[in-house]
């Protein structure tokens, strides 16, 4: 294993030097001594070569898109085009301060303006704010908009949001953050919303409905028209969790099938990199009647050029980010959309769907699939056969996949499928890659029969072996113990 940067520190080493002080005013002449730190912070001291020899080998311990398939359901781990990384690093994008005069930001503002419009067109919604910094913040922003809408209408009794039991965990968490009570909707035997149950729980307190479509089983909610009608009948709002928009682009517009607002995950659908857990970007799109509540500012355009539009600030929910959100992520998403165009985006959805169905076809004889319909961009297999027959769990199978050079699927989610493995290959995987992954899955199914012990002890070839999560909680060692 690698030492930490703290263990590599040698007093006096430097990884960077600054120019000589000029002017050099004694610190305590400008800042009162009692405010000054007495003991320097123990930042480790390394040379540049030490830093490189730490982080470059460390990087090689990660799985990444460039090493192999990342079949994480709902996470949409697609390839991140290298040109975008190069363009986004232009000094004219990197070195802009958010409070520069608008006249000096016209290039970036134009991009953001066009991105707002493109997302509106893709979603069939009327207005888009790019401000939320991630998908979950997009959800929060959307639910805050629902809250503001009802408050503006005096709907003070509306205190509940309905969420299906197959939903991402962020959905209920986001509702709670806004102060809503969550009502859980059951799924039916087809893996879709149970309409009868929905009717039984909708009432005047229903502020909105939060749906993922295609849902987390990879299934299109084909009763969407009726659902929307039920919700709208009580003046509820239809919220789309856009995590799975990759399956719909160019095929279906959410705004045309009953949704009033949604968030986008630029780091899923629009090929911006996940960054090991962020930064992402979670723009929100809404129908016209909700536009007054969007965060400020939007990006506007008039005869003088592009500008920060605060014109609706009185009705707006305010802000969810210090400035305008994760601009560098937006730039990449714009590059993506403008490179692909309408036909390209449709191809993305088509190929994502074909890839998922192909992979399902390859492995369906080896793993149980609770909802074996044609899927959209992802499907859920499970290890119930393996668990029952050989005592091998989904966790074991996930870890064994790591040995074979693949990342694991999203596991134990959605919660409604026992031993779930939620698999989303995305359109950037080739047939060869899917074939290889399926072969690995089939090999593992065979190993479950022949050598379940191997599965329990997996992974064997990774930088570390199976990690003790329980101990981590017990010890709670979350920072390196520094010594003087």
């Amino acid at each position: 294993m690698s030492k930490t940067i703290f263990e590599l520190s040698v007093p006096g080493r430097k990884g960077i030097t600054l120019p000589p002080r000029d002017p050099d005013i004694p610190l305590n002449e400008i800042i009162p001594q009692e405010l000054l730190r007495e003991k320097p912070a123990r930042i480790p001291e390394l040379s540049e070569i030490d830093v490189m020899r730490h982080f470059i080998p460390l990087s090689q311990k990660n799985h990444c898109i460039e090493k192999g398939l990342y079949p994480l359901g709902s996470c949409t781990m697609k390839y991140n085009p290298k040109l975008h990384e190069s363009l986004v690093r232009y000094p004219s994008f990197q070195n802009l301060h958010p409070l520069q005069p608008e006249s000096t930001l016209q290039g970036t503002l134009q991009i953001l303006y066009e991105l707002q419009n493109d997302l509106a067109e893709i979603s069939g919604l009327d207005k888009v704010s790019l401000q939320p910094a991630a998908g979950a913040q997009g959800e929060f922003t959307g639910i805050r908009i629902i809250f503001a809408y009802h408050r503006a209408k005096g709907n003070t009794h509306k205190n509940k949001i309905i969420i299906p039991d197959s939903a991402h965990g962020t959905n209920p968490a986001s509702c709670a953050l806004v102060g809503y009570e969550v009502v859980e909707l059951k799924s039916d035997s087809r893996g879709r919303c149970d309409l009868a149950h929905l009717k039984s729980i909708v009432n005047e307190n229903t502020a909105g409905f939060m749906l993922t479509n295609p849902n987390t089983l990879g299934l299109f909610e084909d009763q969407i028209e009726e659902i929307a009608s039920i919700i709208h009948s009580v003046d509820g709002l239809m919220y789309l969790d856009g995590a799975n928009l990759n399956a719909l682009m160019g095929l279906v517009k959410p705004g045309e099938i009953g949704f009033d607002l949604m968030h986008f995950n630029l780091h899923k659908t629009f090929a911006t990199p996940h960054g090991g857990g962020g930064p992402g970007s979670g723009p929100v799109g809404v129908i016209a009647k909700l536009a007054p509540f969007l965060p400020v500012p939007l990006i506007g355009k008039n005869e003088d050029g592009y500008f920060f539009d605060y014109s609706h600030k009185q009705s707006s929910i305010g802000k969810v980010h210090t400035f305008y959100g994760n601009v560098a992520v937006m730039l990449r998403a714009y590059f993506y959309i403008i490179t692909l165009g309408a036909e390209g985006l449709r191809q993305v959805a088509e190929n994502a769907i074909i890839n998922a169905n192909y992979l399902m076809a390859l492995i369906k004889d080896y793993y149980h699939i609770q909802y074996p319909d044609h899927c959209m961009h992802e499907f859920v297999a499970d290890s119930t056969w393996q668990k029952k027959e050989y005592g091998v769990s989904t966790l074991d199978i996930a870890k064994r996949l790591l040995d074979k050079g693949f990342h694991a699927p999203t596991v134990y989610f959605p919660l409604i499928v026992p031993e779930a493995m939620m698999i989303e290959p995305t359109e950037t995987e080739s047939k060869d890659s899917l074939d290889a992954f399926a072969s690995a899955m089939i090999e593992i199914a065979q190993e479950c029969k022949e050598n379940p012990e191997l599965l329990h002890s997996a992974p064997l070839t990774t930088p570390v072996r199976r990690v003790d999560d329980v101990r981590a909680v017990k010890m709670l060692d979350t920072s390196f113990p520094l010594e003087d």
Partner: protein, 449 residues
């Protein structure tokens, strides 16, 4: 350029294996009337060459801080970033990786987050740090919510001297749950201690102070803390500039309970304001109340040191509506930049960045104060690298006039509710003495008086 590898031939083979004759068969489940019959109305696709040409044209419509000399701050700062930071951050192994849920193939990400957490703990003096928040604003908003989880009190006092945009975000984050926000006055550019004392009561869940505050001034944290903790249940929330911690007392020294801040200044490009990242640290015994991811050290089955995401039972993907926050994606790659940046700077380097920023800011402040008609807004109040000046004309006019001299003069505070002649000026170690002198000379030559 579609980035889709499969050819038509492969697509057909795959459809055959699936057992359908066409793609359309796969989406029969979508009601026909919902299926788009026409292509989206987007501009035509571009090749990589055309995209490059377009982006060159668009980029040239920006004027960046390499072209004009920048004295803009207000939360986002133009500090020097060693090239080696991007050498690391631009490695696909880091930037195309997913959240490190599968620890065995994510040790690279997990270890740097652990190191980042350690650095934040060391800078702040706190016991535990999370893996990051979206920005300084959401970090402090979530700190207020965490305080409520801790003490179940329903009022927060916010210093009016904190960043005005932080206040807006706090309002967004707290309005739904009905938290009462009370604002504390400013006096001499800092939080008015007497006013705070007046507003303190038994229902105060937390008090939020930023230091250096929005105006650049260093708050009297020791004195403020005594007032805050006059109610033993009240949590003292500090929002700090991490660079300032190179030379200023750590928040632990003034008994802060939750320490947050905007981390961009640590090795991250400005990008017109995003991505930023918020850091978040607290006492270790409050770990289970924290929002966000946390990495812990542990061992693998062979007993080797390993890292993993820990205390996940607090998080949304496990605990759903009872989670400590809804945050999922955070700003991981930005914390990698911060970790590499601090590793390169080292102990002395961070002190040097902080010291030179302070020295240069004070030099410029003195120069400006000597120009007829100009004065410091708060001449008696200590500041770090940023300060407010009173101009003889509107700040807007000064900014426009200086723009003609290729200088971003500072931030106009009018829209934040200050006098229209107030200009906020930030200085980092990147500014040369010549640039400072040019700034002063340019102002002087305006002859506003």
């Amino acid at each position: 350029m579609s980035y889709i590898p499969n050819t038509d031939a492969e697509r057909n083979q795959m459809l055959e294996k699936i057992g359908v004759h066409s793609f359309e068969e796969l989406i029969q489940v979508i009601p026909r009337k919902f299926r788009l019959q026409e292509l989206l109305n987007l501009s035509p696709p571009l090749s990589e060459l055309e995209l490059t040409q377009l982006v060159n044209a668009l980029a040239s419509k920006n004027i960046d801080t390499q072209k004009f000399i920048s004295f803009l701050g207000a939360g986002v700062y133009d500090h020097f970033i060693p090239a080696a930071v991007d050498t690391i951050v631009s490695r696909p192994e880091f930037y195309t990786a997913y959240t490190p849920y599968q620890a065995e193939v994510s040790q690279g990400t997990l270890q740097y987050i652990y190191e980042y957490q350690t650095l934040i703990c060391e800078l702040t003096g706190m016991g535990i740090s999370n893996a990051s928040m979206y920005d300084g604003a959401t970090a402090v908003a979530e700190a207020i919510l965490m305080a409520v989880r801790k003490n179940h009190l329903k009022k927060a006092i916010i210093s009016s001297a904190i960043h005005p945009e932080f206040i807006k975000v706090i309002q967004s984050y707290t309005e739904g749950i009905g938290l009462e926000l009370v604002f504390c006055d400013i006096k001499y550019g800092r939080t008015d201690i007497a006013n705070l004392a007046d507003k303190m009561d038994e229902n105060v869940s937390s008090v939020v102070i930023q230091t250096p505050n929005f105006l650049g001034n260093i708050e009297a944290m020791n004195e403020l803390e005594k007032v805050v903790h006059s109610n033993p249940k009240t949590l003292f929330i500090a929002s700090v500039d991490p660079v300032s911690l190179g030379i200023l007392k750590p928040p632990s020294s003034y008994h802060a309970d939750i320490v947050t801040g905007e981390g961009q200044a640590l090795g991250n490009n400005m990008y017109m304001g995003g991505p930023l990242f918020g850091f978040f640290a607290t006492h270790k015994d409050m770990a289970r109340l924290m929002p966000g991811r946390i990495v812990g050290a542990t061992v693998d089955v062979e007993g080797n040191r390993a890292y993993t995401l820990t205390l996940q039972a607090r998080e949304q993907h496990i605990r759903r509506e009872k989670a400590t926050s809804n945050i999922c994606s955070n700003e991981s790659l930005c914390t990698l930049a911060a970790t590499v940046y601090l590793s390169l700077l080292g102990k002395d380097g961070l002190i040097e960045v902080a010291t030179q920023s302070a020295q240069k800011a004070h030099f410029l402040a003195n120069e400006i104060a000597s120009i007829p008609g100009f004065s410091l807004c708060y001449p008696e109040t200590p500041f770090f690298k940023e300060f407010a000046i009173h101009c003889p004309v509107s700040a807007q006019k000064v900014i426009q006039d200086m723009l003609n001299k290729h200088i971003f003069a500072g931030v106009d505070l009018k829209s934040y509710g200050y006098d229209e002649n107030t200009l906020l000026i930030a200085v980092t170690e990147k500014r040369t003495r010549a640039e400072l002198e040019n700034y002063a000379t340019a102002l002087r030559e305006m002859n506003y008086e």
